[in-house]
């Protein structure tokens, strides 16, 4: 009898969660698809798709996006793998600082970094001017393909760094010794043993970097200029300068969904070919770096992280400079912040924190339920829910934004322009972090512990509340903080869904940037950066581990 009741409760939750996904994910995506194939006078048409592929003006954006994302992926691997190798196999001085600074770069709002780089290296950037005026050197343009590559590679290599640390840590010392005993050492060992063992992780890291680069909206928007990428094109078609065309935007979104899914499946296939997992009983002991090699390792690590961190520091610095709209003036004050206070600073912070906290609360509750369903009550339905919950992970934010607008503009769900639709977007988009982390933690908790509680006379709901959830706490909290950070730095879906009432910190920053009000932008960007940084530091303190699940 008790058993029957329990089955009902969890089955009911399965259907509730499924219902939520159908309403807030599948229904909007279906709407998107419908919009993409319905002609002006009704009836099914492939006109929008054919228009996209017929005109090089549009179709080139796919090529551009793929090109720049691939280049970014390769460069991040080249930058990230060596630093991770030095970090994992040698005792670098200040290793912790390197790690935290890299994490800050990786998690910061992408467009803020890009904006800061424009102020440093743009046409009238400080460094550009310095080189031009004093050294008479033209350091080239930050705009276009090279600029996107430069900014994104520096922002995303920490992902490779963090992923690879996990893999390198799991290489057992005996494997290193075994290869040494067979005469394979040094570079040869690095390429034939170490990298091969880390291959699944390299693929996983590549996927994450590629997806982020591909879906990134802020960077190419600010510095892409003539180099037009896919996410920006979606946005432009949706509400750009060339007039609105929802159908065409929807069609491009559908193409984006197909493409990202294809990349995702390709990565899954590639990973499945490396069908081994490593875990070290005796991790490799870190050596003391010696001599010239040691110095070079330190130089490499610090210069790389230093450059990557530069825009973050610079924007905070600028926020305290005097300014007159677009021009920074000598001297320091809180002028920019005072100006921000007049321009919706309070509302932006309030919206970011309150809507963010609201989204986070929903994320935590739903993620715990999904984790429990997926791990403890395996069934076809729950597997389906698991897959559904991960779809937003590979969808560009602007696609989700447009899909929500299409779905919830009319009755019965007229939500566009409300805070609710922002919350829905954030929950859908950022829940995968918490789900993954909570699921991974729950998988490690033996079922026995819950059974022990039951055998001591504890009812099912009470066991769940008093034993299961507290034991999952670390996984939930660290996942939730990642969700939180990505909510705080969210731009691509918010830019489609926000309005004056629901404006957030990132949106205020973006608005200030687009109006050329650099002082104001610096203040907003600095606040966003600091909120992000504090969240990351809390995350590191809570998770106590460097295995960041990004």
């Amino acid at each position: 009898m008790g058993n029957k009741k329990r089955i009902d409760m969890w089955t009911a939750l399965s259907f509730t969660v499924l219902g939520l996904f159908v309403l807030f994910l599948l229904y909007p995506l279906w709407g998107l698809l419908r919009q993409a194939v319905v002609g002006p006078r009704g009836g099914v048409t492939l006109e929008y798709f054919s228009r996209f592929f017929e005109y090089r003006y549009y179709s080139s954006t796919i090529i551009n996006s793929l090109k720049v994302s691939s280049a970014i992926t390769i460069v991040t691997l080249i930058l990230g793998i060596p630093i991770s190798y030095f970090y994992s196999f040698y005792q670098l001085k200040g290793a912790k600082v390197l790690f935290v600074a890299s994490l800050l770069c990786a998690m910061s709002a992408p467009f803020i970094g890009a904006y800061s780089w424009v102020l440093l290296l743009g046409r009238s950037g400080v460094i550009t001017k310095f080189f031009a005026n004093y050294l008479n050197i033209n350091i080239g343009s930050i705009y276009g393909f090279n600029g996107i590559l430069f900014v994104q590679a520096l922002k995303l290599f920490p992902l490779v760094f963090i992923y690879m640390n996990g893999a390198f840590k799991n290489i057992d010392n005996s494997l290193m010794e075994a290869s040494a005993s067979m005469g394979t050492v040094g570079l040869k060992r690095f390429f034939t043993v170490i990298l091969k063992l880390a291959m699944p992780t390299i693929l996983a890291a590549s996927l994450v970097v590629f997806m982020r680069a591909f879906a990134d909206f802020g960077t190419p928007l600010l510095i892409g200029e003539g180099y037009r990428t896919f996410p920006v094109e979606i946005y432009n078609q949706y509400l750009g300068d060339h007039g609105r065309d929802y159908n065409f935007a929807a069609a491009i979104s559908v193409i984006a969904v197909v493409l990202t899914s294809a990349v995702f499946l390709l990565q899954k296939w590639a990973t499945s070919r490396y069908n081994f997992s490593i875990s070290a009983m005796n991790p490799v002991e870190k050596k003391k770096p010696k001599g010239i090699m040691g110095i070079l390792m330190h130089l490499y690590a610090y210069i790389l992280v230093g450059i990557a961190f530069l825009p973050q520091a610079y924007i905070v610095y600028l926020s305290f400079r005097n300014s007159d709209l677009a021009v920074f003036l000598p001297g320091y004050s809180l002028h920019n912040y005072r100006m921000a206070a007049d321009r919706l600073l309070g509302r932006s912070i309030y919206n970011t924190l309150v809507l963010g906290a609201g989204s986070l609360a929903i994320i935590i509750v739903v993620a715990i339920i999904i984790a429990y369903l997926v791990v403890r009550r395996r069934s076809l339905l729950n597997n389906f829910i698991d897959t559904l919950s991960m779809i937003p992970y590979v969808l560009p934010g602007s696609v989700i934004g447009i899909a929500l607008v299409i779905a919830f503009s009319d009755r019965p769900f007229a939500l566009t322009g409300t805070a609710a639709v922002m919350i829905i977007a954030w929950v859908i988009r950022r829940m995968p972090y918490t789900i993954r982390s909570a699921t991974a933690t729950l998988q490690l908790i033996p079922m026995n512990v819950e059974e022990a509680a039951t055998s001591l006379g504890t009812s099912k709901p009470k066991t769940f509340a008093r034993i299961t959830v507290p034991m999952m706490r670390n996984g939930i909290v660290s996942g939730a903080i990642l969700s939180w950070i990505t909510i705080v730095t969210e731009l691509s879906s918010a830019i489609i869904l926000y309005n004056n009432r629901t404006i957030t910190l990132t949106m205020s920053t973006y608005v200030a940037i687009s109006r050329g009000n650099d002082g104001l932008a610096a203040a907003f960007a600095a606040i966003t950066t600091v909120v992000t940084a504090i969240s990351i530091i809390i995350y590191l303190a809570v998770s106590k581990s460097e295995d960041v699940q990004i």
């Binding site: 008790g2 026995n448 001591l456 504890t458 034991m471």
Partner: protein
Amino acid sequence: MSVVITIKNALKKFGDNVIIPDLSLTVKPGEFFTLLGPSGCGKTTLLRMIAGFNSIEGGEFYFDKRLINDLDPAKRNIGMVFQNYAIFPHLSVRKNVEFGLTNRKLAKADIRAQADKFLKLMQIDELADRMPANLSGGQQQRVALARALCIEPDVLLMDEPLSNLDAKLRVEMRSVIKNIQHTVGITTIYVTHDQEEAMAVSDRIAVMNKGVIQHIGSPKNIYQRPANIFVATFIGRSNVVEGELVMRNGVPHMKLHDYEVPMPNVKEEFRTSQRIMISIRPEELSVSRETGKGLRAVIEDSTFLGLNTHYFMRMQSGMQLESIHESTIESIITPGTEVSFTVNAEKINLFTADGSMNILEGVQNDAVPSTKTARNSGVAV
């Protein structure tokens, strides 16, 4: 607080896979009852059916006269100890032990007093405020036991509680468990695959194989008079050879090649000439350098283990045998030496040719043969 556990015709399936076809047994009040068998024999599955963590596909489970088949595990009033201890990692030792009591409407002071009693009994009262992560495996197992006993359960269920401990601690903890069980006097079912551990703690042992109980009896009885060849080989070590039973002047004799030994303890119904299986434990063989007495064999190898010396020898038929002797001061018999051996007729066991039944008197087997299909009671060797 001591209850009788009665299981009638238990059936367990996972999908179409029958794990336990038809199992019945009775555990006496206050008894220390052990389920022993190789991995995958269904012993843990059966324990979890009693606990309520596995569904029951057929049969009846009783605590005294109360049918518990559909009773929620939380309401069965059981104490359970798990292989991995299953200590709540986020609660202190005291909170772990008190956990079950907080589900009952008890005064705080009573809860504390009750917890103290069992913390003291398990000698972990000094660890009460520690977190589980700071405890050794043995200490964690003491906490698990205190936690299970603290609610004064009707039944104590233990699932391989010692297998995660190192060898020395295992020996120490098994006497702890045995003493506590005697002190508390609670009906206990204990699951293990370690036959020495089972012998050390149990009042009675049920030897299981492939979901079927082969033998229920005291440790002494299952060792000395195993019900079938599976039990003979699973409990302790046994040399199993094929031989014959022959009648000489109305007295049954075991015949192995040309070696014959009178066996007056063969049951009446088996006193006819027939092929049999003979199980001889290594210590039931005595080897002599003098040839001529008993059967001849050649020493192939020896292992000196201090107290005992093991010899591995081969008979003319090609059959290999192992024997154990108390080590002597004389030199060890070198490989290649021809020896002869005799058996201790009082101790060896004879089985029907298929190994399914011991044909000697003195077997005490409380196992209830299956009422459903005859072939289930058969033995797979």
